[in-house]
């Protein structure tokens, strides 16, 4: 700290704790101690309080104890002369501030003043609170658990290199937009809160029409500093979700964030007492603070990995204009936190980055579309010999978009020819699937689907900036080289809008899709000698290991066996290592010597044995990024499957978020397993325990989004009506009701052998 910051932070902390005390007293008097308090979209109670104290707060009456603890962390401000040390005391004040801030937000939820209302504002993806307004008219409040989990894998694999908590307001609207664009360009998740004299960066961005929400990686929390607590609550939850930590392991949670979560605070505009106090709280997490105004600097390191507090007074940043200064400021933030950025320079006339992946192009804003209802679009990546590819050649064959009327649709084919000494035909689908992510990264471009069900839209805004069909080629060329350079040496792209060529290649593509489908169907665990590990998430969940086989993909759904194979080629020392199956121990349960030894060593002795096909006996562990949770329902002699999109109650008496606490963190808990949703369709899905017929309950989200796949599974299992026999949240959320339902429909699980 510095004495100046210590003085102001401790003063701010005292003020906020006092404010929380006053609010709490009033709430206790008006609502009573038994009133329920909660953040509505997380199962982690009040996450900061849970993380730091281990107390699961759900009643107002539990808060005075917490606040008393916060008060005990407050110290006097340092004296003018003969001061005693203040760093530890200031950090304590920061922690008190966070606890008090979370209490204040909880009370605001109780009184209905959270999430903060903002008439006319529309979230681009965010928490829908049960007030009937959907995503309109309010800021987001805390991040919900579902979003936290779905971002998890991106945070660990580096696609999302870190998060920024912006507090305050930028010098101008223009600067605010530029800062956000710079962060988005680097795929940094950005949380917005706070204001300067009533004006928040959220106002600035909203005025400039910047889309804010989960979809654009920019989440508006609230226009006061107190709402910045959600950023740190998010940090605390990521340690609980992915780090296998339990509430109350305060020091571990803080160290986890220091070592693994690349986050920083960017204070825009004048820093007041409360902001200093909140900053002291953030420093406890190892998050540095950067300000665009003149504040004291704290350059020595230790609580944070690099500098603690940096002052970059706006007028002193070098740069020709405000835009350049904004760029430098963001650059510095990244440097200070040691955020690792991989960025491909993609030469297109629109902003480009993963933060734009979630953007939606609405019909009214659409310049042109390919695929969907009115036309057809397909993508086909094929491996060819080196001399058949002219690297960098991009051809558009047929009319370009300017020849189509506004809002119109035409057929499109994208043919990508790649060659490389380490390329294998098995990698074709792996690379082809990337087209979706690559093309979606353009701002104003929307890509949905794959293969011959691709559906692409270009917005009017993007077209106005000069985006044409050729730019699809530019994007793909740049990204394949930067992301897959070690297996792809040459890339050539042909884009067909010409109907004849299009039809010709569509036929070839379909033949290839069929061939690949057959290859995948043939690719069984028995036919390979190697499985692959995935320890990507160990940066977050240090003891978790995925063993990925052809018939069991990674629990995040992002890595199947072929992906791992390609990934190993790209980075032979990376997180996906081949695991020779080795001597068979019990193939029916999925035990081989190789995976056993690998998991022992890679889990640092936490897991001694792992069965590939059982949920009951040594089930595979999970990090926290799983797409769904499978859990035994003993009364039904079967299992239920809850998808992470499903917020409802389940027959286990817990929601997905609560269950996730049991399933994650790299701990083996028989009877509970986090899995990728496509594993549900595998013949090896808990085959030891009876397979898919054990599924007695499943979230409707899964039933609906994978209807075709499950139909095939039901047929394979010899019970074509099986899916209809499986209950879901619309049928029941209680075990008793479930049993009644299963009896009624004659679910096979009831007559199967006992699971125990």
């Amino acid at each position: 700290m510095s004495k100046y910051i210590a003085t102001r932070a401790i003063r701010g902390a005292n003020a906020l704790v006092t404010e929380a005390e006053v609010m709490l007293q009033r709430a206790m008097a008006e609502k009573g101690p038994d009133t329920t308090v909660a953040f509505p979209n997380t199962a982690y109670y009040l996450p900061m309080i849970l993380g730091m104290t281990g107390i699961e707060v759900d009643k107002l009456g539990q808060l005075p104890e917490i606040l008393q603890h916060a008060r005990s962390l407050l110290h006097p401000m340092p004296s003018e002369r003969k001061w005693t040390p203040y760093l530890g005391e200031t950090l304590d004040g920061g922690m008190a501030t966070l606890l008090a801030a979370e209490i204040i937000e909880a009370i605001r939820f109780l009184y209905g003043t959270e999430p903060e209302q903002m008439p006319g504002f529309d979230l681009s993806g965010g928490t829908i609170y049960g007030n009937g307004n959907g995503a309109a008219g309010h800021l987001n409040g805390p991040i919900d658990d579902i979003q936290l989990r779905s971002w998890g894998i991106q945070l660990v694999d580096g696609r999302m290199p870190g998060f920024a908590a912006i507090v305050g307001a930028a010098k101008s609207n223009e600067v605010a937009v530029k800062i956000i664009r710079e962060l988005q360009r680097r795929n940094i998740l950005t949380f917005l809160s706070g204001n300067v004299n009533g004006r928040s960066i959220i106002h600035q961005l909203a005025e400039e029409g910047v889309e804010l929400g989960y979809n654009t990686f920019t989440v508006p929390f609230g226009t006061d500093t107190i709402s910045a607590i959600y950023a740190l609550g998010f940090a605390a939850r990521s340690a609980l979700t992915f780090g296998g930590m339990k509430g109350g392991q305060a020091r571990d949670i803080l160290m986890y964030n220091k070592d693994r979560v690349f986050a920083f605070v960017l204070a825009l505009g004048e820093v007041d007492d409360l902001k200093y106090a909140a900053a002291a709280g953030a420093i406890n997490f190892g998050f540095p603070v950067i300000a665009d105004t003149l504040i004291p600097q704290i350059l020595p390191t230790g609580i944070t990995s690099y500098e603690h507090v940096l002052s970059m007074p706006w007028n002193e940043i070098s740069g020709a204009d405000d835009m350049e200064k904004a760029e430098r400021l963001v650059q510095k933030c990244i440097e200070v936190r040691g955020v690792k950025i991989q960025i491909a320079d993609v030469p297109v006339p629109v902003p480009y980055g993963a933060a734009f992946e979630g953007e939606v192009v609405r019909k009214a804003d659409m310049r042109i579309e390919f695929g969907g209802k009115k036309s057809r679009a397909f993508e086909y990546l094929r491996m060819v010999d080196m001399d058949e590819v002219e690297d960098g050649k991009i051809e558009v064959i047929g009319p370009d978009i300017d020849e189509v009327e506004v809002g119109g649709a035409i057929d499109l084919g994208i043919l990508i020819k790649v060659a490389g000494r380490k390329m294998q035909s098995d990698f074709e689908p792996v690379l082809e699937r990337q087209v979706h992510y690559f093309i979606n990264g353009g701002s104003g471009i929307q890509h949905i689907g794959q293969r011959d069900i691709a559906w692409i839209r270009i917005s009017k805004g993007a077209a106005d900036k000069g985006f044409t069909l050729k730019h699809f080629g530019d994007i793909l060329y740049a990204r394949f080289h930067s992301d897959f350079g070690s297996i792809v040496d040459k890339v050539q792209i042909e884009i067909f809008t010409d109907p004849d060529q299009n039809a010709e290649w569509l036929e070839k593509a379909r033949a290839a899709y069929d061939f690949r489908n057959q290859r995948l169907a043939d690719l069984t665990d028995e036919r390979v000698d190697l499985f692959y590990s995935c320890t990507l998430c160990q940066s977050f969940a240090p003891n978790h290991v995925c063993v990925i086989s052809p018939q069991r993909l990674g629990l995040c759904g992002a890595y199947n066996w072929l992906d791992c194979k390609a990934s190993y080629e790209i980075n032979p020392t990376g997180p996906n290592q081949p695991i020779p199956k080795g001597r068979e121990i019990d193939a029916s349960k999925g035990y081989w010597e190789g995976p056993t030894e690998f998991v022992q060593q890679a889990s640092h002795g936490q897991v001694e044995e792992v069965s590939m096909y059982s949920i009951m006996e040594n089930p595979m562990t999970a990090c926290g990024c799983f797409e769904c949770i499978v859990m035994v329902v003993p009364e039904a002699n079967g299992v239920m499957v809850v998808s992470r999109e499903d917020p409802s109650m389940t027959p286990a008496g817990m929601t997905f978020s609560t269950l996730a606490g049991v399933a994650g963190g790299g701990l083996q808990s028989p009877g509970v397993m986090g899995v990728g949703k496509y594993y549900l369709t595998s013949p090896k899905f808990i085959s030891t325990d009876g397979g898919f017929k054990r599924v007695v309950w499943m979230s409707t989200f899964l039933k609906e989004s994978m209807a075709e796949e499950f139909k095939a599974v039901a047929e394979r299992e010899g019970d074509p009506d099986l899916i209809n026999k499986i209950a879901d949240e619309t049928v029941c959320t209680e075990v008793d009701e479930l049993l009644v339902h299963l009896e009624e429909v004659g679910h096979p699980a009831l007559t199967m052998d006992s699971m125990f």
């Binding site: 700290m1 510095s2 004495k3 100046y4 210590a6 730091m52 962390l73 340092p78 002369r81 003969k82 001061w83 005693t84 040390p85 203040y86 760093l87 530890g88 005391e89 200031t90 950090l91 304590d92 920061g94 922690m95 010098k171 305060a250 020091r251 803080l254 160290m255 004048e270 406890n284 665009d292 105004t293 003149l294 504040i295 004291p296 600097q297 704290i298 350059l299 020595p300 390191t301 230790g302 609580i303 603690h308 007074p313 706006w314 007028n315 002193e316 070098s318």
Partner: protein, 670 residues
């Protein structure tokens, strides 16, 4: 050797001391300063070349090849002298620890008066370290077990001293390999006395191995025990504001100066001095109350815990009496000059001895015991108050400095990260980056053979300018305090740019006062924790750190030096070496001296050297620090890279009007 009276500037750099020495001259009274001038040291004894261990001698070995009557060579005699000194020094610290352990036991059994188990957290931490069960047990039960364990360390005959396990793994392994782990505290001291008796151990490496083993009963035995228990009974120190120097004596209050080393009585006297009964009693005697202050390490014990002022360090014990304002000087053990009593006869001051171990002819003896501690403390204060009426003319120097002491290793841990993130990481980081070049522990006594406080403060000030963080204990700490170096303010303008950033970040003085001389055990703990934190090697000998005792004089200092060497530290002693030999006249008379430097470094990674020049001490310190930095592959020290943190610009900003501030907030365009 001609007797030469020194100038005031040669005697001391402390203005309060000077004023009292002038007064002594005016009154025709002698002090240690005067006696040192009148009594040149025996040059043969000073070189360690005299043996008086048996009736065949004393033997003076002043020629090439000469031996004692028994045939003992110069190096054997020097080594035996050193072993005996270390045995005495270790015995002093350890006996202090023993008294603490017995008191803890008595407190746990409810047999004392006035004491409580104050720091339960520390009790539990310490007990848990030794695998004493703590869950579900009362503090008294835990304290009882801990006291038993600690008491057992003294009489233990076999095995290993338990606190050894507090060293780094690597150091423990080294000690075991070298066979120097002490078996029991008393056993090693007794064996040292035995081995140095006429006709026993007469092989230098073997003797010096026992020197190490014995010293470790102090640093990794008695001293750790003393510190732990003092913290448990009186609270683990945390920073407080205090004052130091003779100016803390009060004209209108009953001045009671505690002097010596143990906190058992002095802590109780602090409590008693605030008792309404005593205040009333003092007021009835015409005083405004009782003003407690301390000299030497007893001063440090109550200074670091309660901020009770320190009247001075070792060489100021007589000077305090010379003020004529001290009603009673209450002493316990160690470093108490017999001269106090005869000097006090010229004033009204009563010198009161309290330890069953220490009586001084003609002093008042009021024996202390923990069972009636508070009553005895009050009785002593009443004797002092009764004496107030006898006070004659006084002269209290108007010299005192503020200071912020109280840096226990527990607090250092806290201050570097708060309740939730406490660790040594920021300190290690600061050293690794080069903001802090290294650490110097400057400890030890005063010695009237050198200018009082000069070496201490000169070396301290020079090292601070070189970005060396200084930790201090004992009389050295009081010396620095008197110069204002123990204040946060000193961290802003008396230090190099990198150290300034650290001081300003944490709010610490550049010199950290860690307690009394038994609290050197805290320094060992800090160094161990630094090694365990990572980034600075895996043992103390790799850390860029040096220990210095620039004005040493007691046998305890030699014990401290030796256990620090055994722990891996480079130790520099100022002043003369007790085994310097006379290498210019008698060949091989410096074998032992060289052994302590060269061989000990080979064995332990630490070494002991005697340097009589302040600049050379600074230079050697920096050389060693830079050598260790290089070995760790840390960046070369470069002060110009640092200094950009801090509040300096905020002052400018705050001096502006509100409108101007709003503009200036975004800085000044380049």
């Amino acid at each position: 050797m001609a007797k030469k009276e020194r100038t005031m500037d040669e005697r001391t750099i402390d203005p309060a001391s000077k004023e009292m020495l002038i007064r002594a001259d005016e009154l025709g009274l002698g002090t240690a300063f005067h006696r040192a001038e009148a009594m040149p040291p025996c040059n043969i004894g000073a070189a360690g070349m005299c043996c008086k261990f048996c009736g065949m001698g004393p033997c003076r070995l002043t020629k090439d090849g000469s031996t004692g009557v028994c045939g003992a060579t110069i190096d054997t005699i020097q080594a035996r002298n050193l072993v005996r000194a270390i045995a005495a020094g270790s015995a002093a610290h350890s006996d202090h620890g023993r008294d603490m352990a017995f008191t803890l036991k008595a407190v746990a059994n409810g047999e004392t008066e006035g004491y409580v188990l104050r720091d339960i957290a520390k009790l539990r931490t310490v007990a848990a370290f030794y695998d004493i069960p703590i869950e579900g047990r009362s503090p008294e039960e835990i304290a009882n077990d801990l006291a038993d364990l600690y008491i057992a360390q003294f009489g233990q005959q076999k095995g290993e001293l338990a606190p050894i396990r507090r060293a780094t793994e690597k150091r423990q392994k080294l000690w075991r390999e070298l066979g120097v782990v002490p078996r029991g505290i008393d056993r090693e001291v007794v064996e040292s006395l035995h081995r140095t008796h006429m006709g026993d151990d007469q092989h230098v490496p073997h003797l010096l191995e026992q020197a190490v083993r014995t010293s470790m009963t102090d640093g990794w035995g008695g001293s750790i025990i003393a510190t732990d228990i003092a913290d448990i009974l009186f609270g683990t120190p945390a920073p407080v504001v205090g004052q130091a120097n003779l100016g803390v004596l009060k004209d209108d209050m009953v001045n009671v100066v505690v002097h010596g080393h143990e906190p058992l009585l002095s802590q109780m006297m602090v409590v008693a001095s605030q008792d309404p009964e005593i205040i009333e009693y003092a007021e009835a005697a015409g005083a405004k109350g009782v003003n407690m202050s301390g000299i030497c390490c007893t001063a440090n014990e109550i200074l670091v815990r309660q901020g009770v002022p320190a009247a001075g360090n070792f060489l100021q014990q007589e000077l305090a009496i010379l003020t004529g304002a001290v009603e009673a000087m209450v002493v316990d053990v160690q470093c108490i000059m017999q001269a106090l009593v005869s000097l006090s006869e010229n004033f009204h001051t009563k010198v009161i001895t309290t330890s069953p171990k220490v009586r001084i002819t003609n002093a008042t003896h009021i024996e202390f015991n923990e069972h009636k501690a508070l009553t005895i403390a009050k009785d002593i204060l009443k004797v002092a108050i009764d004496n107030y009426k006898n006070r004659g003319e006084t002269q209290i120097p108007d010299v005192r400095s503020d200071l912020v002491p109280g840096f226990s290793h527990e607090y250092i841990n806290y201050m570097l990260g708060g309740t939730y993130r406490s660790s040594f990481r920021p300190l290690n980081d600061a050293i690794m980056s080069g903001r802090i070049r290294g650490v110097a522990a400057i400890v030890g006594c005063n010695n009237p053979r050198s200018t009082q406080d000069h070496f201490h403060t000169y070396v301290t000030k020079e090292l601070l300018k070189q970005d060396v963080l200084v930790v201090e204990t004992g009389c050295g700490a009081i010396a620095a305090a008197k110069l204002g170096l123990l204040l946060g303010e000193a961290g802003l303008d008396k230090v190099g740019p990198g150290l300034r950033e650290i001081c300003e970040t944490i709010g610490i003085p550049p010199v950290l006062h860690m307690g009394s001389c038994v609290d050197n055990s805290r320094i060992l703990t800090v160094l161990t924790q630094m090694a365990e934190e990572g980034g600075l090697g895996d043992d103390i000998d790799q850390i860029p750190a040096v220990g210095l005792a620039p004005e040493w004089m007691s046998e305890k200092a030699l014990a401290i030096a030796t256990y620090c060497v055994a722990s891996g530290a480079y130790v520099i002693f100022g002043g003369s070496s007790p085994l310097s030999g006379m290498p210019d006249r008698v060949s091989d008379s410096d074998l032992v001296l060289n052994y302590l430097s060269v061989e000990w470094e080979n064995l332990y990674g630490g070494k002991l050297e005697f340097i009589n020049e302040a600049d050379e001490m600074v230079q050697k310190t920096l050389e060693h620090i830079d050598k260790k930095r290089a070995a760790l592959k840390l960046p070369e020290y470069d002060a110009s890279k640092f200094g950009k943190s801090g509040d300096a610009r905020m002052g400018e900003l705050e001096s502006l009007s509100f409108e101007e501030q709003q503009k200036a907030l975004y800085g000044v365009p380049a």
